[in-house]
């Protein structure tokens, strides 16, 4: 099957060669685009990022301390009244959410941590069921993109895919230093993540789940989270 298909393609192109063009030939195509936004101040990037995310129906918040973030989260919890919150086991998430269950206003919330160790299929299914009943998922953003307001997230041993997918509200923690001017600046990292073998799913999240399939009326939360909140941490 494979040989037949390849033979057909070679004959269609009237060639026998299966030599790829040199990488330099491909790279040369991008030369007219020039350098890009090198050397833009972090503050400006954060501002641009927040404007772009808002325009995409996302909710950016900037915090300069852990306390500020926690105070805001308590407010959110009072507003939304979540029964369960799924937490990624990333050290940054853990440090910001440390002691959350002891906070006033959060005692009734069931905080579930993504188990780091390999625990087999049953444990995975158990986690999935619990995530399906969770209102909020808090995970990490690997990067942010100032031109679009999007973030990059990945499935890892610390963070399940479902954490940012089955819940109603996805909160992503984005250290300000990780904001890049545009997606192109992340391309090398995307290659590394794909080839490293630790993560099978990298997702660029540009906003909440949305559709306009019924009479072009925009509705959020069709299948994925109806709210995308990005907590930009300016202390990192």
């Amino acid at each position: 099957m494979r040989d037949a298909m390849h033979k057909k393609l070679l004959s269609a192109l009237r060639t026998d060669s299966i030599v790829k063009p040199l990488k330099s030939e491909l790279d040369a195509l991008f030369l007219p685009l020039g350098g890009g936004d090198a050397g833009v101040a972090v503050d400006d990037m954060v501002k641009r990022y927040c404007v772009a995310l808002k325009q995409a129906d996302g909710e950016p918040h900037v915090f300069d301390t852990r306390e500020a973030f926690m105070a805001w989260f308590v407010q959110l919890a009072m507003e939304v009244n979540p029964q369960r919150v799924i937490l990624a086991s990333d050290p940054i998430v853990s440090s910001y959410m440390q002691g959350a269950s002891a906070s006033t206003g959060l005692n009734a919330v069931d905080f579930v941590h993504v188990p780091v160790e390999e625990e087999g299929r049953e444990a995975d299914m158990f986690l999935r069921r619990r995530t399906a009943d969770a209102q909020i998922g808090i995970g990490m953003a690997l990067a942010g993109f100032a031109d679009s307001g999007a973030i990059a997230i990945a499935s890892t041993m610390n963070e399940s895919r479902a954490l940012s997918l089955l819940v109603d509200i996805h909160i992503a923690i984005l250290p300000a230093s990780r904001i890049l001017p545009c997606l192109d600046a992340f391309a090398n990292e995307m290659t590394r993540i794909a080839l490293d073998g630790d993560s099978s799913a990298l997702t660029i999240v540009g906003g909440p789940s949305k559709t306009a399939d019924i009479e072009k009326v925009l509705v959020t939360g069709i299948h994925g989270p109806g709210r995308l909140i990005v907590a930009v941490m300016s202390d990192r």
Binding site: M5, L26, S200, T203, G206, D213, E215, V217, G224
Partner: protein
């Protein structure tokens, strides 16, 4: 039960649709909104034209060296744990998918929006074979419930009013009637969420395969593709072999243009880049990933250097929105999975030129499609090439071929041309109708035949020259 696709019904479908005021209004509003939103974000790039050329250059490199890049993609995908299947035809692809599903004992499959799976008629076949296959994109779900086909590449249920959706849900889901889009959406979310959780197989298309890493990229706004490719144990992705890009840098370049062209967003809500099935240590994700590489006529387009460019298309739908013909008749008129200008170019590949013969002529060749295409496809010249093929394959009306041949003969010699002109001026007024137009069967039902001038240019020139000489 789906409406059969018949591009040969084009003329009758158009006649129906042109005189439907509601459809005309919906189409007009939808296409104008899409065009306005697109312009607003294209403005982000002062070098948009340059970017189009670069995108074109990238695809040209890949398509001209397709066997090499395809081989690289296969090797890297397999190294990441995916299983590759080659399907030359739609039948082979359907059988391959059925085979996999049966092997895993699957009885319920969830499917995200994918043109290529519609092209091969996958959903219909699977349901017939007893595997409940649920379309999960909201628009596709609505269309599936109603037993119809989608009418637009990116907005499948464009032709439904919210009241019609409400009635449909009440009838098929037994819920109390509502026409509020928010409520209808919440109902669909609930119903489909259970399907995602229960399904054993997830089906998807692929927006782009990345040769350097063996990754597949799936772009969406709803989240149903992520769910379909995360929750079930088996993920089967169907990919047209032309959907390759060399590396991640090429992918980001194209992604910058795709959402802007398709929906006027800077980026879609979710762009998933999947490399193999779940890895050790990951908490969820499918145990198995199958990638079905589909030819189904693409190698035929590849073999024709004049049509090869059509393989660069990224299915953004911008050419549909800008086409003055599409804006008036809508997608269903084309009777094909792929409507609009790009549809008219590639449909002959899947249905044959005879069945698709009207489509390349459903165009004024205004070139708006070529201007808007992010991949810089020369669409209106591709349409012209298809017309040339339609004539060569004798798919145009016999009378038209005779008339064209006669016309060519008349234009070949000055004396035949003068004679034809003289006869036209003598007998024309005798045959002309009340409007002064010569009645040409078929051709003049919607146009006037141009009035012949009382004197030919040549005779006027001679007269003028003589007058000057005599002066």
């Amino acid at each position: 039960m789906t409406v059969p696709l018949k591009p040969e019904n084009f003329k009758s479908l158009v006649a129906e649709r042109l005189f439907n005021p509601q459809l005309r209004r919906n189409l007009s509003r939808a296409t104008q909104t899409a065009l306005t939103k697109r312009l607003a974000v294209v403005k982000d790039y002062s070098d948009w034209e340059q970017r189009r050329l670069i995108a074109h250059g990238i695809k040209k490199l890949v398509i001209e060296h397709l066997p090499a890049y395809l081989g690289e993609f296969e090797r890297n995908a397999e190294a990441a744990g995916a299983k590759i299947i080659h399907a030359s035809t739609a039948l082979e692809a359907r059988n391959a998918v059925l085979d996999i599903v049966r092997r895993y004992g699957g009885t319920l499959a969830v499917k995200s929006k994918s043109m290529v799976t519609e092209e091969i008629g996958l959903t219909h076949t699977m349901n017939e074979e007893g595997i409940e296959t649920v379309e999960t994109d909201l628009g596709e779900y609505i269309v599936q419930l109603a037993g119809q086909i989608p009418s637009h590449i990116t907005a499948p249920a464009l032709h439904f009013s919210k009241e019609e959706v409400g009635e449909l849900f009440t009838e098929k889901l037994g819920i109390p009637y509502t026409s509020d889009p928010k409520e209808l959406t919440a109902i669909a979310r609930r119903v489909l969420r259970q399907k995602f959780l229960d399904a054993g197989v997830g089906l998807s298309g692929v927006n782009a395969g990345i040769a350097e890493t063996g990754s597949i990229c799936i772009v969406e706004n709803e989240g149903n593709a992520r769910l379909s490719t995360t929750l079930p144990r088996v993920h089967i992705a169907v990919m047209g072999i032309e959907k390759l890009l060399p590396d991640m840098r090429s992918l980001t370049h194209v992604l910058n243009m795709l959402a802007r062209s398709a929906t006027g967003q800077r980026i879609s809500s979710y762009t998933s880049i999947i490399t193999g099935p779940r890895k050790t240590g990951e908490k969820d994700g499918p145990d198995e990933l199958y990638i079905v590489l589909l030819d189904n006529g693409r190698s035929t387009m590849l073999a024709d250097p004049r049509l090869r460019e059509a393989l660069y298309c990224i299915r953004c739908g911008a050419c549909l929105n800008t086409c003055p013909v599409y804006q008036k008749i809508g997608g269903h008129s084309y009777g094909s999975i792929y409507p609009g200008p790009i549809g008219a170019v590639i449909t002959p590949c899947f249905y044959g030129m005879r069945q698709a013969r009207y489509l390349p002529y459903a165009s004024s060749l205004c070139g708006s499609c070529s201007e808007i295409c992010p991949m810089h496809l020369d669409l209106h010249h591709l349409l012209l090439e298809r017309r040339r093929q339609a004539v060569a394959d004798r798919c145009t009306p016999f009378i038209e071929r005779v008339a064209m041949r006669a016309g060519a003969m008349l234009l070949k010699h000055p004396w035949t041309y003068r004679l034809a002109g003289a006869m036209g001026r003598t007998f024309g007024p005798l045959l002309a109708d009340a409007n002064g137009s010569l009645p040409v069967p078929g051709w003049t039902t919607s146009r006037d035949f141009p009035k012949l001038a009382p004197h030919s240019f040549q005779s006027l020139w001679e007269e003028h020259a003589n007058a000057r000489r005599d002066a």
